[in-house]
Subunit: 162 residues, 2 copies
DNA sequence: GAGAAGTCTTAAGGTAGCTTAATGCCCAAC
DNA sequence: GTTGGGCATTAAGCTACCTTAAGACTTCTC
């Protein structure tokens, strides 16, 4: 399994796999566990860009010559396969690229047009198991709101529906 | 130039090239002019997803079997090349996919973390010529805010800087 | 050239989400 | 058992942005 382009490793919960600012040519395939990528802005606020549970792939999408914008770390003890982003490798999965772009497109439209509570409900429908595995404040961070705002929105929704 | 997979056509300003709901397997390369893609939500609000001036490519990124979410139309008289999204074609430009994903990644992070006025200034820096070619309300639509909010934010910024 | 339509701006009032802070809960460390 | 840290919730005041409406200006149309 371990070749020049693929390496299987174990990472502990909390371990940082990819730092922001480093030049990044790796893609991480999650076999078991849970990774995430996030950015920190100049005010110290964290924004989660992606969760990657079992079967998912996660990477900074920067071009090979640019430093990474994202930090990638483990939210659970995980088993991952590190792959090279080298585009000369034979099998380029076009469908996977299109699907990824579709996910990002949907998220952009949703960020522009839908209120936080709807984005939350869509998240819960789409990723029900992640909802159970990470603290609510991380879901708020993924949605682009504060934990307080999410807590309030959920409370308002429940109060409205009775 | 016109083959089974590529066709060069002229479109007039205002013409709709791709409707939402249609199954879409085409990619449009803009030779001259300006296209855009957008969605309309259930309240009738329009959100511009992308501008595509000369040299750009525009498409709905849905998988081939799904109906398109985006409408694509011409903001200026344009000359475009229609290409098939068929992934079996030989030259798959991986760099172009990664670059596209990077643009979307940057936009998502910016939508989550930056106020509208900063997103506007970033837009003007990045696409100075588009700013001159489309009405301001379309830029507001791209930024995810109302034209009124953009007008006010610009006025506030000018007033603050003197 | 007059009217119509589209655009930008300003303003007033409303809402969503942020900031700060306090409280209670759970759980791990000692 | 107590202490302390991380998390969720609530609340009060604030800011950013929305909604609606009006006015001024430009561009299109007849």
């Amino acid at each position: 399994m371990n070749t020049e382009h693929m390496k299987r490793i174990l990472v502990e919960k909390g371990k940082v796999i990819q730092r922001a600012g480093e030049v990044n040519t790796k893609v991480y395939h999650v076999v078991k566990g849970l990774l995430r990528s996030y950015v920190t802005d100049n005010r110290g606020r964290e924004f989660i860009y992606q969760f990657a549970p079992e079967g998912w792939v996660i990477a900074d999408s920067c071009l090979s010559e640019l430093p990474a914008a994202l930090v990638i770390d483990a939210l659970e003890d995980s088993e991952i396969i590190i792959m090279s982003k080298d585009p000369t490798r034979e099998r380029v999965n076009v469908e996977a690229f299109i699907k990824r772009i579709w996910v990002l497109q949907t998220r952009i439209i949703s960020l522009m047009s839908a209120p936080a509570i709807e984005r939350y409900e869509h998240f819960v429908e789409t990723y029900p198991d992640i909802t159970q595995r990470v603290p609510q404040k991380m879901i708020a961070s993924y949605l682009g709101i504060t934990p307080e705002a999410l807590s309030k929105a959920k409370g308002d929704r429940i109060r409205k529906n009775r």
